[in-house]
């Protein structure tokens, strides 16, 4: 894969595709959870609460990956990491004890209902954040912090 990479920019090159898939999943999760909250929340509060949480996290991850930059990058690490843990935890729990949740969520059975995209996506996202980390492969040098820059050595010829 010839990912055109500008280190530090998470929404460029391959990142365009990643953000697109995240955005679609965010739309799906928000649509699903609003529908569940509006029509039948009382039937399975745990499952539908989880749906809502996952929807919020997907939206945050999408925005963070699209924006990039230092602060957003941290948000992206946290939200994408949270999804990776969430899909593994809920996927395992739904396999071991299906009754806990009462109803299915985006993460049930490791995201089977969404073509396993929720399982694959966070790990691709973590790889992409690592791949585009500042300082990787010819990144522009960090701007010098005022006061710490050593004065030019007069002895150097």
């Amino acid at each position: 894969m010839s990912a055109t990479t500008t280190p530090g920019r998470t929404g460029r090159g391959f990142g365009r595709l990643l953000v697109t898939v995240y955005g679609i999943l965010a739309f799906a999760a928000v649509g699903r959870s609003s529908y569940e909250l509006a029509t039948k929340f009382a039937e399975a509060p745990v499952a539908y609460g989880l749906s809502t949480l996952s929807a919020v996290v997907y939206v945050l991850a999408t925005v963070a990956l699209a924006r990039g930059g230092t602060g957003w990058r941290r948000t992206a690490w946290v939200t994408v990491g949270f999804e990776a843990v969430g899909v593994l935890a809920v996927g395992t729990a739904s396999a071991v004890a299906p009754d806990v949740f009462g109803e299915t969520t985006v993460w049930s059975s490791f995201g089977q209902g969404y073509g396993y995209v929720p399982l694959v996506l966070p790990f691709v996202g973590l790889w992409w954040l690592w791949h585009t980390r500042p300082g990787n492969r010819g990144a522009p040098p960090e701007p010098p912090t005022p006061g710490t820059t050593p004065a030019p050595d007069p002895e150097v010829r």
Binding site: T4, R12, G13, F14, G15, R16, L17, V19, T20, V21, G23, I24, F27, A28, G31, S34, Y35, A38, T39
Partner: protein, 120 residues
Amino acid sequence: MVFPLLILVAALCAALAGWALWFVVRDRAVILRQLFGAAAIEAVLVVQAVIAGVRQATSDVALDGALFWGYVATALVILPVAAAWAFAERTKWSSVVLAVAAVTVAFLDWRLWQIWEAAA
């Protein structure tokens, strides 16, 4: 909803996705003419939504309205957002984005048809 429009949307989405994937192979970014293609699909989706609304209002279909119109809203939003997002990127990845969006819209339209048929 009417079946011929479902087929039309599927065909247009397949054509747009194929066109975009051809651009991926050629290492090219999305061009304006492809966005006109996306606009044509969007127009058919709007016509489809209007027909569904009229049919729902004038007949006794036991349609799950929140579910159905939630899907309609999602289907209508995806192409404009994806087109803008793709067009701002000037590498082949913009073409991948457009192809993914077209396939997603085709899938959503098929889900719409399922929900409609379940109620009819």
